[in-house]
Amino acid sequence: MSWLLILLIGLPAAAGAALAVAGAKVDRFAAVLSVVVCALVLATASAASALRPSLAAPFLAGSEFGLSVDALSALLLPAVAGVAFLVLLYAAASGIGTPARFHGLMLIFIASVLVTVTATTLSALLFAWEIMGAASYALIGFHWRESRRVSSGLTAFVATRTADLGLYLAAGAAMAAGAWSRDAMSLASLDSLPGPWRDIAAAGILVAALGKAAQLPFSFWISRAMDGPSAVSALLHSAAMVAMGGYLLLRVQPLLAATGWAADAAAGAGAATAVVLGFIAIGQQDLKQLLAASTAAQLGFVVMAAGVGDAAGGAAHLMAHAATKSALFLAAGAWLAALGTKKLADLRGAGRRWPLLGGAFTVAVLSLAGIPPLALWATKDNILTAAREHSFPLYITGLAGAVLAAAYAAKAVALIWKPVLRETESGYDTEETGSRKVTPWQLVPIGVLAAGAAVSGLLVLGTTGDTVRGVLGSKAESSPLELAMSGLLAVAVLVPVWVLGGKLPPLPGALSWLHMERAAHIVLVRPVLATARSLARFDDAVLSRGVEHAAEKVLHGARSLDRTDAALDHGTDAAAAATSRLAGRSAITDHTIDGAVSSLARSVRRAGAAARRPQTGQLHHYYVQAAAVIVVAAVLLIVVR
């Protein structure tokens, strides 16, 4: 049955590579092809999650290239493929400048995400992880003629890459501990690594996953990543790249639990991100930035779930959030394309203009806010329940995150349904020229995703919830009281914020994401650059200049010796004259001293000049010098030995 996996991954990879290579020549049917391919991928993914195929090929000594669909990935695969299909459908409907390149990159990206989801060994994971990072760079900087977007792609890439080093560390630890045994790098057996290697592996994976999931302290890159096309944001920040960070932690949850501290660290980082990024989201004036911050905050719940061992809740939250957030991003993208703005203030009344789009957006926002009976309400509560069983402060922090979610969700939707003011129009077309149109084919994917956002709470509720918990082996189940309380809390926060029309007090620093990017620059980038520069200066000033300086000094010394000699000479002369007047035969002595001193000066000067001579710039002179050094070294070796 491994052909199913090969098909699942090979199809988008081959189609994507073909589109990317063929380029502008196939622009005409690129969009159609990619949507068809993605539909096939969706069908294959569904079949795969039913049939659970697995595949292993020898890859490296000590690690095979293993892919398989287990309970967790069977849950995620159709979700990823479905969101990818809908996003590509939207992208095809809205059109993009160079479709072949765009869809090619998207398909390659999707293929790498599918490998990430199904990978069973660290080597396969690394392979996919790298391609995912590279493709995300290309996608975020898709409009490469604008240097700001390219540098945004670079920021995202470098930030996640820095975190990715952790994955290499983990692979190295697994390799070192497993000592070339056949399944040393299997993800499932990482928790049985011996001693310190296990902690190193856990730390590495934790850092890599926090980086990809845009958790603190790596969150800043997700803000810059908003420079990508809207469809890219919808995929990268809902079901694919960012989600993969959380997914990886869910997958290695036994490893985190086995170390103890790693699970707590993950839970703490997740909870902190949920709160801090929640505050940041409230402070945003730009819809996409708000959504970006909320993505990191919501992923915080997933990371927290991995920390407290609630795989079912985490996976359900991941999927519910994927549907919710891709609907929101696509809606934001549709408005951006139609009105040319994504400023919250300028989107006033957008919902009235396109009620269907506004309705879908509102449903998704309410899900994001955690309003019953929508998806994120249930899934988030499931995680919070598990957190409460784990530690009470964690639960309180998580609850605070949930309250903030309701607040920023309300802020996102508040102005959409207000009547258009006279000055609203002046904000249109500030970022790009809007078409003033939303096509039905753009609406369909958004509607489907919003429906998904509404119902995917069933993954943790009722009988389906029991089934999911059963296959994933987690126990936490929220009590009706908890559910009701958090629902009430969400409504209680949502309603006033909505009514106030998003006129929340500005939060200091939130707009610029707490200066996290600048902090990263100050803490990391600048020191590295400064070190490089100072090393370069050291080379110029010391290594290369040193020789010259030494030569100059020697010359200088020779000259001053010369002068001293002249003075001495003079003195000697005078003395000699006096002496010769006294005793006429001391002239010989005088001559001898004079000669000795001036010959010393001469030889020092010659030595100074000689010190510069080897640097002729002539290749063959350097060869001679190299040969001489080697001979001397060889002789020395023989003598010393």
Binding site: S544, V547, E548, R612, P614, Q615, T616, G617, Q618, L619, H620, Y622, Y623, V624, A627
Partner: protein, 100 residues
């Protein structure tokens, strides 16, 4: 066929190459000198391998030497072409940017 004989032949090749690398003015001729030196290295390595330790993986060293020669040739030609294009010269004297 003894080790000494092979090594002396290799040393002779190496030294002829050294003479060429040192004395020639034209970049390409200098490269030929270097090639000849590496030729001597190949012979010496092969002789050591055959007479002292004929383990199968010793041959890998020879492959590495050949790869080094390839790299030397490719970069040498590239630099020679660059030099020729930018300065219309092929003499090493004209490229003394490294003079101190």
């Amino acid at each position: 066929m003894t080790l000494e004989l092979a090594l002396i032949a290799a040393a002779a090749l190496f030294c002829v190459g050294l003479y060429g690398a040192l004395s020639q003015q034209v970049v390409v001729m200098v490269m030929m000198g270097l090639e000849l030196m590496l030729n001597g290295v190949i012979l010496a390595a092969a002789a050591f391998w055959w007479f002292l330790a004929p383990a199968p993986d010793g041959q890998v060293l020879l492959l590495v030497v050949i790869a080094a020669m390839t790299v030397e040739m490719a970069m040498g030609f590239a630099v020679a072409i660059l030099l020729h294009r930018s300065r219309q010269t092929d003499m090493t004297e004209m490229a003394s940017d490294l003079a101190g």
